[in-house]
């Protein structure tokens, strides 16, 4: 698994072999490629970016070029075992609608996002009075793609409101290590949040 982004390795551990997978905002297709080779999965990536699309073709990953903000109406209810969306939630126009669509289309959904509740962001905002900029969130407020950042608490509150069942959770740092602080105060010390949500 060494060639795979560390966050994706974690997700691979959650996927049952032989599953049907839809990867939203699949980027260069690395996750699906790995799952195809090692977990015998079938499925599709969805991405809008032409370079990503080409990279998926090179990797022999089925790619459907589409805008996630336009919805997933082209997929039937419950037609996938897993719908995955890594590090894309915060960049969506209507994240709540896309989450609802994921739960509709997939029996299980896996979502990852950067935790904006991280103490460093809080300190940055409190001390400097400016929108936090970090290695993981390097863009300025005006040119960032991350238009809907949320915290661990926000996300879990949302799931509760929508009666979405959180089946698995991993709160980790950027290297995907976990420690006692993250376990105790995930919203304060977690850098990346990984969730598996099962349908209503």
């Amino acid at each position: 698994m060494s060639e795979l982004r560390i966050e994706l390795q974690r997700i691979c551990e959650w996927i049952e072999p032989g599953s049907r997978v839809l990867d939203l905002g699949c980027g260069d297709g690395s996750l699906l490629e790995w799952l195809q080779k090692n977990r015998n999965i079938s499925g599709y990536g969805v991405d809008i970016n032409p370079e990503n699309v080409l990279s998926c073709l090179k990797k022999k990953v089925n790619i459907i070029q589409a805008d996630l903000d336009a919805g997933l109406t082209d997929f039937e209810d419950g037609s996938f075992d897993y719908v995955i969306m890594t590090q894309a939630l915060q960049a969506l126009q209507f994240p709540h609608q896309t989450l609802a669509e994921m739960v509709r289309v997939g029996r299980k959904s896996i979502v990852t996002f950067p935790n904006f509740g991280l103490w460093k962001h809080r300190v940055y905002l409190a001390m400097k009075g400016r929108m936090p900029v970090s290695k993981a969130l390097p863009a300025q407020w005006y040119d960032t793609q991350n238009i809907h950042l949320c915290t661990v608490k926000d996300f879990e509150q949302f799931c509760k409101q929508q009666s979405l069942h959180i089946a698995k959770r991993d709160i980790v740092d950027y290297e995907h290590r976990s420690d006692a602080l993250m376990k105790l105060w995930p919203n304060l010390f977690g850098e990346v949040a990984l969730y598996q949500i099962n349908g209503k």
Binding site: R20, S42, Y44, P50, V53, L54, C56, L57, K58, K60, N62, I63, I64, Q65, A66, D74, F75, E76, S79
Partner: protein, 371 residues
């Protein structure tokens, strides 16, 4: 590709057609590019659309101004790379460029078929192309590829002969024609059939052609191949002679262009073939036998699909390609779908476009063939 020459073969095994009639014997004119390998697993069938023919790549002579219709995409180092693939490009049954069609002589009457030529459908073309594959010793296509009506043939191949197609390349196509598509075809047919020189399709016997009807049909068709943007960019409201004449002559550049397109088409195309081709389009509906459920049809397919559409194509818009993609994903088939920004409308599938060419090339490079 350099200079290429068409080949021809006479088939005397009757071909039963969907319309219930049988065509007793026929010629298939075709071109091939590249070399068939020892295992015969590198063959790519290229299917033409409404007005094109077997001349898909290269030039027929050194004096030719224009190469074959898909020359940008077929040749050494091009998406359908003739260093790897053996490309077969037939002229369809009913056409007017050499394969048997309405203007061919009917051996039963020793006169041109004319309106007696049976209506052919996409299903018939696939059966007809099977005969050519057998002749060339090809049991399975590495890929069947085409744009527009050609893409429909690729799709039909995958449906009709699941074990004979490994990849289907379906570009700027639709799962079936919309009412608007059929309406445009109906007007084109009316233009031809209401021409006094049409003579119920027997104009060959009168030594004439329904030129004005065919011209109008082509002008109409041409409008649907271009986008509003492309026409605007190319012609705008430019005038031919810098001033308005307040009469009914050709004044705007776009009028002059359409007339030129229409007139040059009359010189190379047969009106009865045009009628036939538009009918083949109208009848295409592979989901019909499954009560309109295309995904059910695709469940029996084993080919992998590559689909592409173009943003300003309003004849077969991206939405139409997505219908095919949806049916394929519902059926759990392998499919990749790309949508390219282009202002060339429906014609974009024939036009140079860097992203389109590199995606098409990448997909084709991944098709495995033995050396």
């Amino acid at each position: 590709m350099g200079v290429v020459s068409p080949k021809s073969h006479h088939f005397s095994e009757p071909l039963s057609l969907v319309c219930g009639k049988t065509i007793e014997q026929y010629d298939i004119v075709y071109e091939t590019y590249g070399t068939l390998n020892a295992n015969a697993d590198n063959a790519v069938l290229v299917c033409h659309a409404l007005s094109a023919d077997h001349h898909a790549a290269g030039y027929h002579s050194n004096q030719d101004k224009k190469p074959g219709w898909w020359d940008l995409f077929i040749g050494p180092g091009k998406p359908i790379d003739t260093n790897r693939f053996f490309v077969v490009s037939p002229c369809n049954l009913g056409h007017c460029s050499g394969s048997t069609g309405p203007k061919s002589i009917n051996p039963a009457s020793n006169k041109a078929y004319g309106p007696e030529f049976p209506i052919v459908t996409v299903v018939d073309w696939v059966n007809y192309q099977v005969r050519l594959a057998q002749l060339l010793g090809i049991d399975q296509w590495a890929a069947v590829a085409g744009g527009s009506l050609g893409g429909m043939q690729a799709m039909q191949w995958a449906i009709q002969f699941p074990d004979k197609v490994r990849h289907a390349i379906v570009i700027a196509a639709a799962p079936k024609l919309s009412a608007q598509n059929i309406a445009f075809n109906a007007v084109a047919r009316q233009a031809i059939m209401s021409d006094p020189d049409f003579h119920q399709g027997r104009y060959y016997d009168h030594d004439t052609v329904p030129a004005s009807g065919l011209k109008v049909a082509r002008m109409l068709g041409h409008i649907t191949y271009l986008s509003d943007d492309a026409m605007g960019d190319k012609f705008g409201r430019e005038l031919k002679n810098q001033q308005l004449n307040y009469d009914y002559g050709v004044e705007f550049e776009v009028e002059s262009y359409l007339r030129y397109q229409g007139e040059s088409f009359v010189n190379r195309f047969d009106a009865n073939t045009y009628l036939l081709m538009t009918k083949a389009l109208d009848y295409f509906d592979p989901a019909e036998k499954e009560a309109g459920d295309l995904s059910e049809v695709f469940r029996k397919v084993s080919a992998k699909f590559f689909l592409a559409s173009f943003t300003t194509d309003w004849r077969f818009s991206p939405k139409r390609s997505k219908e095919i993609v949806k049916a394929l994903t519902d059926a759990g088939r392998d499919v990749s779908y790309l949508e390219f920004e282009s202002n060339h409308g429906h014609d974009a599938f024939l036009v140079e476009h860097a992203d389109y060419i590199s995606a098409f090339s990448t997909y084709m490079q991944n098709i495995e063939v033995s050396s």
